[in-house]
Each structure stands twice: as C-alpha cells, then as structure tokens.
Symmetry: C2
Subunit: 291 residues, 2 copies
Amino acid sequence: MDGKRIDGKAIAKRIEEEVASDVARLRAAGTEPRLVSLALDEEDPSFASYLRAREAACRRVAIRSDVETVPSASGERGFLEALDRLGADASVHAILLKLPLPAGFSEERIFSRIEPEKDVEGHHPLNAGLLALGRPRFAPCTALAVLEILAAEGIALAGKHAVILGRSRVVGAPLAALLLRKGTDATVTVCHSRTGDLARFARQADLLVAAVGRPEFVPGDWVRPGAVVVDVGTHSVPDPSSAKGWRLAGDVRFDEAEAACSRITPVPGGVGPVTTAVLLRATARAAGGAR
Amino acid sequence: MDGKRIDGKAIAKRIEEEVASDVARLRAAGTEPRLVSLALDEEDPSFASYLRAREAACRRVAIRSDVETVPSASGERGFLEALDRLGADASVHAILLKLPLPAGFSEERIFSRIEPEKDVEGHHPLNAGLLALGRPRFAPCTALAVLEILAAEGIALAGKHAVILGRSRVVGAPLAALLLRKGTDATVTVCHSRTGDLARFARQADLLVAAVGRPEFVPGDWVRPGAVVVDVGTHSVPDPSSAKGWRLAGDVRFDEAEAACSRITPVPGGVGPVTTAVLLRATARAAGGAR
C-alpha cells in the first residue's frame, strides 16, 4: 500500500478493540450497551445499507443495536414521542437519527428532544455548546474521526494551519471547534460555498479537510506540497470501467491530491470506518464505559 | 472626526433608543425589565467602576439594575445557591456575572447553573450550543457588538475574509460562529497565541478583529491596506503626558492601523459602548421585549 495513504480501517480496528474491551467490562458488570436508531417506516434502501454496515460493527464489539421505526403517518409528533420513550427507557444508552430528517420535520425541535446523555452524535444544543466551550461530551462522530486519524498518524497541529472546506453543523463547524481547542492548537480557517477563492485558502493549508459534499470537487493543485489531506466526502459516481457501473469517490480528486500531499485519507477506507468506530466508542461511553 | 473612525457611541445610542422604546412597551404592559449582577462581596474597584457605567446605561433605557452580593465566606456553594434564587425569582429577567470568576470557582459548574432564559451573556452551554448550531438566543455581548458595528456601517462580509486574533470563549470563538452563519457568510480564520505567524494571517484580512488581550499588540503593518479593523481590547496603559498618568488603549496600535485601514473602531468609544447597548437589548428581550 502506498505510504501516503492513511489506513482508516486499521485505525478503526484499534478503536474497536478498545471498545470491545470496554463493552466486555460493562457486560460483566451487568450492563448491555444498546444503541437504537430511530427512523420512519418508509422504504429507504440507502439507509438499510448504512444500517447493515453499522449493525455489523456493533456485533463485532458486542453492542446491541436495534432500529425503532415510527409510522410515517404519525409524523413529527410520533417521532418526538418515540424520542421521549427512548430517552426514558433505561435499557437504551445511545440514540441515533437518520439524517437528513424527513422533509418538513424540524431539526430544532427534534435535536432538542434527544436525551442529551444518549445523544451520541452530539445533535442536542447542550452537547453542541459543551463542544463550543471546549469540553466536549458527545460531538459529531465524523468531526471526531478526523481528530482520531490525526492522532493515530502522529500529526501534530500546534502552529499549523488547518483549512476546512465546508461549514456544516455536523462536520465543518464542530471540527473547527475541536481543532482550535487548547492542546490541539491549530490555526483554523473555515471556507464554504460563499468563499470568494477557495483555491487561495486551500493552497495555504498544512491540513486540508474536504467536507464539501460534492464528488471530486477538490483538484490536486489546491493541495500544498506536503500537506495532509482528509477527505470527508463519500459519493457513488458513475464508472463504466467497473462491473457495477459505479465506484465510491470522495470530495477530493484522489490521484491528483495523492501526488502533492504527504498523507491522505482514501475513499472508501479513510474517514468512514473511523467514524463508525467513534460512534461505537460513544455508545460504550454513554452506557458507562470508561474511555 | 476622522472619516475612518467608527463611532461606537453613535451606534450604541441608536440601539439604546430602540431598547428604550421596547422597555417602555414592557413597562406599559406591567413588566419592569430587571438585570441583576452577581458578585462576591470582596472589594474590587475595577468592577465597581464597570458597574457604575452599566447602571448609568440601564437608567437611560429604564431597565432596573441591581447588584446581588454573596459573602465571600460562603464560597462557590453560596454563589451557586444565589444563582438558583435569581433563576427562580420571576422579577429577575437577566443575570450577569463578573468575569473572570473568583479563583477556584468552576466556570463549568457556574455557567451551567445560570437559568438559560436569563443568561444574557450566553454563558450556559445550551446558549453556546444554540449559537454553534446557527440559531443564537443569547450570545456573548462583545461578539454580538462586532456584528452590530459591521451592520451599522454597512460592511458586507459575504466572500470576504475575516481574521480573528484570539480564540476566547467570550469573543473569538462565538464571533467566528456568528461570522460564518448563512446570511453573513464570511470566510473565517481564527488565530491565537500558538499560531505560527500571526502577521501572515492578519495581512490577509478584509476584516481584522483584534481580541488578543494585550495592549497595542497589533502593529500597523499587519493591516492590509483598505481593511476594516475592529479592536476588542480595552487596557489602561501608562501615559506620562496625560494628567491622570494613564490612558485607555486597545489591542491595536491605533495611529499606525488607522493609516492603513479603511475603517477602524477606536478605544475608547468603539466596541465598548456597543457591547453595553447589546446587553441592554438582551435584557429587554429576556423580559419579553420584541427585538
């Protein structure tokens, strides 16, 4: 394997080993860590495939994983009531939502209704605030995964310039807060769709994080020679040369960026598996695990 | 007055006029907006002088302002109990703390104990989270004051680069969140004491915000020609040429920066009065005022 490519699967595996040992301890003490995903009963093949991957990961570390479905006909109110039930159910330690929420549902109302102690994705304003104040409890797992990758690779950021392309509530914004914290100490620039000249900022980055949500949006000549590139995007793009007719791609043109960078996360096999592992760890923590 | 200098007092006056009219409406409807500052009974001349200025501002807009003192001997526990009393007292709409907190007091415990609906400085994690999620309720008044100044001066930031020197919980971090919001749309860089080369970042700024906490730290040659400079610092520095022996100074070397910039906030008379006006507005809102 190319020495520049960061092996997200290997990092995830190490985290999962820690989580498995925490879960074993919890189970020995009589607690069965349990993650519940809440979704409408509408058909959604992409969610089903996501759930399968996540349930396999839960099985590997012996976390119980269920899906609770709410009848579409009961609408947002039914969804909120289900959140209340899960919040009150002592056998449930972690609650996960499928994003984006169904059309017409209020993120504001729904996120505020997740029991903060079970909010493993850090959606609740209280958890977003603890993160903003520099003492995160639960934070968006994708943003945490970027930090895990940097730590695993021994990439120190003090005095370095991190440029984040994307200001989303689930990646760009929380990642900026995490990178700015004392102890991490990056200088952080957040760019977005209204930024005048993305290339100018990207080219200054010691750490370039692409969280744009557009396949292969970042060309290689935006990567400063020697920069570290973390690609948060996952998209399926048409590929006639593949038997399936498609392949997975990130937000970065991988081959071009790989030539310029010092280290890069591939898609698939980069941020994705680490994000899942971080979710497992948050679930173990919510169930009373130590780490 | 020099055309480059932003007149913070005039901006504050316009805000106070709005607040006075909101307060008059509230009083006509039977509500007396009331702000309570909580402090230990220890002697602190700087706080007394700050309180006098703030109480004068409250009088101008007919907000009731009190100071509740807690005996030092009762410690953090007494302080927390006082917060509980103020939170439960329906005649109190807004609670203000003196920062920094007394040595040994836990910001974490104290900020989490302020009734969020009365937390006009946005200290509570819930309010910090609502800000981080892009729907601020109460936010640190100094950060809001910077936005007020930009709006009052008609300075649009979409596609512009804002560079914030300082990552503090009360200025730098919340200001970054405010500037990044949709509708404001700045590209934002946050620098701090661990940033390798502050000058390099400062010189790229269309908007340079100095929130360093060190008097006259930013030299004029850090200011890009034509940039807007907002100076958040307030320090008293020795000045033998003054009858008092001292003068007020900001984080920026004003004369040097004024030569290079297009607009600049002076110290005093810049961010300070607007911050006070923003606090008055937050108090009126907490009491049920409309804006």
